[in-house]
Symmetry: C2
Subunit: 76 residues, 2 copies
């Protein structure tokens, strides 16, 4: 499990972050949690179509491309 | 209310989309929902620190800058 909790937390949510490619078709949505007093780094949490939540590595090139593609309304 | 529902839905979530600037310091997290059979357009839903959810216009320049800033772990 790479996620401590699914609710609003006062600390970082992600323990492990996935850098390996996950096919965008398997992803239902992506939550971006900005860094702040609760956590020094941005957290990116993907909810899979299966319901499983996976923390993504925000600096991984494929993650950046994924976010850009979603924002540009590209077909995933 | 600009949001039909907060759960996983089979249709678009956003009725109205906010294009006006909202200060990033007020935003707790941002959910990106890719387009798909349920909805033709990407949906961007910000959860405010107050708990209120607001749909953002994905094509608004400030929204694009916000997402980029979060991904780059910039201080908001």
């Amino acid at each position: 499990m790479s996620l401590k909790s699914l609710g609003t937390e006062l600390r970082c949510q992600c323990i492990n972050k996935e850098s390996r490619f996950i096919h965008p078709k398997l992803i239902q949505n992506v939550e971006l949690i900005p860094s702040g007093p609760h956590c020094a780094n941005t957290e990116v949490i993907a909810t899979m179509k299966t319901g499983k939540k996976i923390c993504l590595e925000p600096t991984a090139p494929w993650v950046k491309i994924l976010i850009k593609a979603i924002m540009e309304n590209q077909k995933l």
